[in-house]
Symmetry: none
Amino acid sequence: MIQAQTKRRLKQTNHGTKILEAAESIFAEKGFYLTTVEEIAQKADLGKGTIYLHFENKRGLFLSVIERKLDILLKKIERGIKKGKSPAEKIRLATEIHLNFLEKNRNFFKIIHIFSNQFKKGMGEELFKKVAAKNSRYLEILQDLIEQAIKGGEIKPLNSKKLAVILVGIVHSLTVYWISQNEKGSLFKDHLLAWEIFWEGAKAL
Amino acid sequence: MIQAQTKRRLKQTNHGTKILEAAESIFAEKGFYLTTVEEIAQKADLGKGTIYLHFENKRGLFLSVIERKLDILLKKIERGIKKGKSPAEKIRLATEIHLNFLEKNRNFFKIIHIFSNQFKKGMGEELFKKVAAKNSRYLEILQDLIEQAIKGGEIKPLNSKKLAVILVGIVHSLTVYWISQNEKGSLFKDHLLAWEIFWEGAKAL
Amino acid sequence: MIQAQTKRRLKQTNHGTKILEAAESIFAEKGFYLTTVEEIAQKADLGKGTIYLHFENKRGLFLSVIERKLDILLKKIERGIKKGKSPAEKIRLATEIHLNFLEKNRNFFKIIHIFSNQFKKGMGEELFKKVAAKNSRYLEILQDLIEQAIKGGEIKPLNSKKLAVILVGIVHSLTVYWISQNEKGSLFKDHLLAWEIFWEGAKAL
Amino acid sequence: MIQAQTKRRLKQTNHGTKILEAAESIFAEKGFYLTTVEEIAQKADLGKGTIYLHFENKRGLFLSVIERKLDILLKKIERGIKKGKSPAEKIRLATEIHLNFLEKNRNFFKIIHIFSNQFKKGMGEELFKKVAAKNSRYLEILQDLIEQAIKGGEIKPLNSKKLAVILVGIVHSLTVYWISQNEKGSLFKDHLLAWEIFWEGAKAL
DNA sequence: AATGAATGAGTCTTCATTCAT
DNA sequence: GATGAATGAAGACTCATTCAT
């Protein structure tokens, strides 16, 4: 009896995850509009209708794909930077973790990139806002750390938000480049480069 | 008779431009897939069929929108950097021109951003390659300048391509931020910030 | 053991009735096509699959809803008109019972109304015919009575079937009106009006 | 040039009408839900998309089918009853015209019958209200005439609205019967029967 | 050249029905 | 018996593209 329950629950969980993973890879490959629900269902070895038992609609599925990964990334970063002793070191750790995650989750990065572009109009509801909020959470964490570093005299007194934006921009541009090069070599190694440019550029004299 | 011909040709040219401009603003607002040809035609005060006299299809129109602007930007940059005396100054000028252009052509930036995401699949032909090439031309120019600066001892001997990627990434992330802030203040002013971070981070000790 | 069996059988019977009653109210509210089996199951506090243990399919359930009520109505009428002494009085009694029943079973009337419209095509089988037959049984009863009244000189020698149709039409139109007025006042009271019009219009001079 | 314009306009008009007529017959045959837009398009010898150039959606088409016919019927009745000298005669004329129209437009009647049942929920907008209003316009005309007849002492002082409802009910029930009999004989001839029952039943003593 | 009516391929989404548990 | 997760057929509707005028 317990066995059966467990099995069923596992099965369900698996379905949700199976769908999210199938969706992730196809959305990453083709973008939101060229991806069909049918295709996702096939890749997940499920009927089309089953998708709709787990997600309200195609859009909801797309947002869920993002939400799931953002949660994981944020948790990793929040946990990881605790090891850093100074704000500066924490920032470096965040960059390192971020690039490491993107290397292992290239699909996710592609999707995040899509996200910011494909939903210009017609948003506004619950889930979208939640995802958008999570999306900018990382930026806030960085901004906080930068502010602390500025107060501690480690970083020049520049606009902390813009510095955070720049650091993320550096990380993203390296990722885009890495992906465009068909992902040769390790993206993770670039965290030192990213960090060096940012740090030397921003540190107090 | 010649008059009439001339007039007609002018008109045509105007049509092409009218369409490109209408398309630019709508693509920027709604992305590729949510934009309908009908809408573009209306904004251009033309019949839907007329669009197809000037562009092969919706996709071709989209690429043409990009191509036109990239041509202008590249010309501006190539011309502008001639005034710089050292590679370093040329790089700074390029950044300045780039941000200045993006500020004045926010629509274009949005479209470029879309470009890199919405055409994952089904590319391969002529026009697309041309646009992709132009798109990376700026990167090449920067890479060249950075290589020269490295040779001249102005910049640390790092990977020149990645440094170019990072610089463009800084510019783009600031632009995205500026747009997300509803374009308050001048984006152009940020070129000093972008430059400072990059230069201090990359310059030889 | 016997107890258990009995309980179970009772339970089953209850299930059938529970489903029929849930179905009746929802079909009445939303019509056949806008009603989902899921909804009926929920209202009946049962699983969706359970519906299919008791009825062949949605259509069969719909027809069963009608059949059950028609049985009750016909029995009431057949029993009730026995008290009438002349055919004329029996007709009046039938009208009275009919309107009384409709007042107390508005849902049923709405469903009957749907019935005649929503199954234009794809009928032909057993159950449908049975329901259609029952549906016209009342008309036959009336026609018989009218024929007797004609023979007895109480009613003008007009087409008895059409007279029956007219009488039912009067009853139905008053019911529709009553329902459209949000069922204010008593529909039952109108039986005198219905009867007066019909009787004065049809009675022999 | 004028030829061309005319031809085109005629063509358009024809399309609208062709669609309405195709829709009328199929809706009448199968009801709203079992009718597919595809089917209507085929019957009208047009592409599916063309339907949507002329009507907002399936529902709008359905309502338009009704609206068109109701307009014609109401005009006929309003014009026709002018010939009557007394309210009573006008009422008789209205009944005559009504039955005559239903005989010639059986499809329309079937659709009207559907109308009142299939749109229980989810209405509320413009077109629906307009159609509903037109639908009850005939009832109002009758009610007015009956009130005049009551004032003139031709008809007993009963509830004029209910009398109108009853008269329409008689007409409709005869039509339903006639249709159920596969439309043998002339429905039109029944107007005398309908009138006799109603008039003898309602007239002042 | 310019138009816009016509087209139908393509997609999301719903829901009756089945069947493993 | 009872369940409800899974299915996929079916259908409304959109929109890029064509082509007769």
